[in-house]
Symmetry: C2
Subunit: 365 residues, 2 copies
């Protein structure tokens, strides 16, 4: 079988990097001294190989390791263990890329809706999608539903929960979700629009199942999930039979795993239909290069995997819409939260301005 | 309600740290400009407060924030979101400690066995426990069972799977677990000992349930789980009705969350009976201070939570047993893997030497 290749960014020195790369190959495969391995076939077939070492910048090296695909057990947890299990605890190592052989790639179905499916759900085919968030924390279901109604009347495509909304006493999931979904349905009936509500779904397996039933009964078609908060194996299993589109949130994704790999490639592999990430120039320190690589990882052709919709967010403003559409192109969704809410009594007008700017920006790309 | 306090280590400058701390308080609570919040009670009750800012070392500050307990929804995912949801993506922030008010602490049951329960299972009451690992990857169930038998004959208390063993084609869970469990039971019958086998349990909820059934049917009493690989909400729910002791593995726990907090305090809060961590002086760069703080976080008195057994591991040797026992004391478990396996044909003798050294070390503490 063709091997699984992973690329690491390692802090080291010219005289030590060779040994450091070998040590990493051992750590992530057999995890014991090769000299103590009594089976020659294990050394031949299971011990990871150092494929290449290149100096990346002063004191840092790009190291490619090749693993036997079968050590991943062709499942999420096994793959993560091989890629970044123990070395997650070693601060000199960052995981920056991976290359899956076809036998391993075929074990993952990827997004079930993807960009095409999200466009069908929202009936938006020729422009970037728009998204906003219900916040702040502390509002009641009725208050959240009123916000949602205004956003829907303003023509937003997807109105999502703040990712912090789980099941707080002031806005329990079972109470909040049907009320918000109903408010949006009423606004849609009024406008002829197709705004969708994406409630935040999280919890252990049992809790998750209960909330999923609530969401289904309410008619929800898209859910917001933070894969790293939920656990990646649970996330991958969740999307299997979900029949709802999945908007991935980056909360708790703070590993030394490069964002284009984690939020772009890995979340796509495990089934995110859309992936939210911090836009450049906002409250987070992502560079334009990181953002573009992330967006591309989400939507470039990759085997049988459907493309994932990139969703830049975090401190964005209506004023930046044209710039964002120019940067990310039509196959994207712009998420603006606080900057809409800051309009106060003019929330509907600011929302409409956002939606119109996105529509108008398309001819200018 | 008394608040939830979290301590962060932030990289900043004297003139910027005040604003940086405020921005973090906003990010982790209301996540929108306070000026845009229309409900005064949200600003009063939900917006996090900066409690203190202290210079820690040049360019770094210790910042304590106080959150409203209800924003956690009294559940794992909500707690993690509040503590480290979005700021996991901000590289200038490390989460270093937390202080739970009693209303929040009482929502978590903690370890179901803890140190006392593990001592009952292993029938070891007056010395540190011993632990080893079945490896390398690539061995068949029969080969793993033979290793396990030798370790049990040598008197090891807990023989665990290598954390990389999930469900590989060369050692499927359903085939491997009963054979290894049986080999250990036979050795116990021969020696009169009480060696336990801890198989690695992982996967999405359905897979987990299937493997759990297999383990239960085989008579397994302890499982090895990597909480961060599984997802912390899934981990917390798993231990609820498990009726098996849980040995936590640190794989994939690579956040900017201080190890004593993550592997000591948080894993204990969520129910780990024992917690494996990289020992100082091994293949990982943990300091003696980090290791001691971690061990203490796992076992100091903390509300109603049972103490968790600290399990130093990673490049340890039989030669270091006395030093380790002196450092960690009796309420610990020493995990030595590769250094035993390196004995080759003398595996039984090296295992016995390890066990005897631990027993002999007690009088010397």
């Amino acid at each position: 079988m063709q091997g699984l290749e992973a690329t690491y960014h390692i802090e080291s020195t010219p005289d030590q990097i060779g040994a450091r790369a070998e040590a990493l190959a051992i750590e992530q495969s057999i995890e014991m001294p090769p000299s103590a391995v009594r089976q020659p076939e294990v050394l031949r077939e299971v011990l990871a190989q150092v494929v290449s070492i290149q100096e990346a910048e002063k004191g840092y090296y790009r190291v490619v390791l090749r693993f036997a695909g079968q050590t991943t057990a062709f499942e999420t947890a096994g793959l993560l263990n091989v890629l970044f299990g123990n070395c997650a605890l070693q601060e000199d190592v960052e995981l920056v890329d991976l290359n899956l052989p076809s036998e391993l790639l075929s074990a993952f179905a990827g997004p079930r809706f993807g960009i095409v499916g999200l466009r069908q759900l929202t009936q938006v085919h020729d422009r970037p999608l728009t998204c906003t968030a219900l916040k702040p924390q502390g509002l009641s279901p009725t208050q959240l539903a009123e916000l949602a109604r205004t956003f829907a009347l303003g023509g937003i495509d997807i109105v999502k929960d703040d990712h912090g909304l789980t099941n707080q006493p002031y806005a329990p999931f079972a109470e909040r979700v049907p009320i918000i979904q109903k408010a949006i349905a009423e606004a849609n009936a009024q406008t002829g629009g197709h705004t969708l509500y994406a409630p935040m779904l999280t919890g252990g397996p049992k809790t998750l199942l209960e909330r999923l039933q609530t969401a289904k009964q309410a008619g929800v078609q898209v859910v917001l999930v933070a894969p790293m908060l939920l656990g990646l194996p649970a996330f991958a299993e969740l999307v299997q039979d979900l029949k709802m589109a999945v908007l991935a949130h980056p909360a708790f994704a703070g590993h030394r795993i490069a964002p284009p790999l984690m939020l772009g490639k890995l979340f796509r592999l495990l089934g995110a239909d859309a992936t939210i990430f911090p836009n450049y120039g906002g409250r987070f320190a992502y560079s334009t290069e990181t953002c573009m690589n992330l967006a591309q990882a989400a939507r470039v052709p990759w085997g049988h995997l459907r493309p994932t919709l990139p969703v830049p967010a975090g401190g964005m403003t209506v004023e930046r819409v044209e710039e964002m559409v120019g940067f990310y192109g039509t196959d994207s969704m712009l998420l603006i939260g606080g900057n809409l809410l800051a309009a106060g009594d003019s929330l509907l007008e600011r929302t409409q301005a956002f939606v119109q700017k996105v529509a108008a920006s398309v001819g200018k790309i």
